[in-house]
């Protein structure tokens, strides 16, 4: 059906594709480089869209369905553009016991987002992590990479208001 050229061209002339090409070339365009290459796309663009998945899959001779399977299996990859700010709530066992469901409920109530969703205005993305690795600080959430250990829902909402609307 489709003819595969030896080295497919990137979908756009965006300069960020260079970093993806470097990773693929470094691994000799082997199918085994799929995860590494998807990482490069995720790091450069913040998410994987259809064009990116198709480009990487065809460059590495990986079937489209396999690339899609890998991209949806790992939580690290996202298929939709992220919001301006990112909130990650740990849903590991310790945080679960310490009440992370309250945090998620509070976020859902205030911003109308479930896990892996972005607010309609595109300002906030909510993600979950299956253990951040600091169970002593349970329940823990991160806002734009900043850790909030032993956090209450009030504290988390206050922090989010701060990053979303500036200091008030």
């Amino acid at each position: 059906m489709y003819q595969k050229s030896k080295f497919p061209e990137p979908p756009t002339d965006d300069k960020r594709w260079h970093s993806v090409q470097v990773v693929m070339r470094k691994h000799g365009r082997s199918p085994h480089a799929l995860i590494e290459s998807l990482h490069a796309v995720q790091d450069a663009f913040g998410y994987l869209d259809r064009d990116a998945l198709t480009y990487v899959a065809r460059s590495l001779d990986v079937p489209l369905s396999k690339a899609y399977g890998v991209a949806t299996f790992y939580q690290y990859f996202t298929l939709k553009p992220p919001g301006q700010h990112k909130c990650v709530v740990c849903t590991g066992t310790a945080c679960y016991i310490k009440g992370m469901t309250e945090l998620l409920d509070a976020l859902k109530e205030k911003y109308g987002v479930n896990v892996e969703q972005t607010t309609e205005d595109g300002t906030l993305t909510l993600q979950s992590a299956c253990c951040i690795g600091t169970c002593g600080l349970a329940p823990i959430a991160t806002v734009d990479g900043e850790d909030l250990g032993k956090v209450s829902k009030e504290e988390l909402l206050a922090k989010l208001e701060e990053v979303l609307h500036g200091h008030s």
Partner: protein, 243 residues
């Protein structure tokens, strides 16, 4: 120097009976040759074993965990138990989990009477489940002009993925997501009917153990007819001893 690995003839015991085998065979191969019954679902002659369903778990003396017979190579002096109270209990739980995870309602399924999940439940005496049914809502993809994919009936054995990839070479189908949300997709989760890679070979229909992938035109209950032996035949013709 030779690239051909030498195959040795070894002896092992299965359920106390001494049997001979060549060292490149799996426990399941040898058990079948000697008339022992080990239940399987994801295993299919001709496809590369995958070890997904865990139904073929057996006890091996000296190992403190159960091993999948389809993935375990035989070894000299191995003592295998294919049937015990523990194994029966584990296998029954596995079947119950499969039945409760999605919609396996035989009375309205095209595969009724041709279903391996159904016949395995019969063979292992699983007549009811002890867990609540989850009844997830997966959408049905009927965009293909010949086939229908219904993830509600899927047990994620990956036979269709393996036959599409390894035998047909198209790799249109794969499993996306993880855990309870995992499902079979074609290409980038596109409509199957628009797939540029699908060759319409129907091998996925032949290998599906349940009614998850079926042919159009067979609408009634129990009409799904399958030629599963074809896959082993194709694999043998190619000379590929799939391991």
């Amino acid at each position: 120097m030779s690239s051909v690995q030498s195959v040795q003839i070894i002896t092992l015991t299965i359920d106390g009976k001494p049997v001979g085998a060549s060292s490149d065979e799996t426990v399941l191969d040898v058990a079948k040759q000697n008339g022992f019954f080990i239940p399987t679902l994801c295993f299919l002659e001709g496809l590369i074993p995958y070890g997904a369903c865990r139904l073929c778990l057996v006890e091996v003396k000296g190992s403190n965990r159960l091993l999948p017979a389809c993935m375990t190579k035989v070894a000299e002096g191995m003592e295998v138990t294919t049937d015990s109270e523990k194994l029966r209990s584990y296998r029954r739980w596995i079947l119950e989990l499969l039945f409760t995870e999605r919609n396996h309602v035989c009375s309205v399924c095209v595969a009724n009477g041709f279903c391996e999940l159904q016949s395995m439940a019969e063979a292992l005496g699983m007549d009811h489940v002890r867990l609540p049914y989850l009844h997830p809502q997966f959408s049905v993809d009927a965009t293909h002009d010949r086939f229908v994919s219904d993830n509600n009936r899927c047990i994620l054995c990956s036979r269709c993925v393996r036959v599409c990839s390894d035998i047909e070479g198209a790799h249109t189908l794969d499993i996306m997501g993880r855990g309870i949300h995992a499902r079979i997709v074609s290409d980038l989760d596109d409509a199957w009917g628009n797939s540029p890679t699908c060759t319409r070979c129907s091998k996925c229909v032949q290998v599906c153990p349940t009614g998850a992938i079926k042919e159009k035109g067979r609408r009634s209950v129990g009409e799904k007819f399958k030629r599963r032996d074809l896959i082993a035949y194709i694999a043998k013709l190619r000379g590929g001893e799939h391991e």
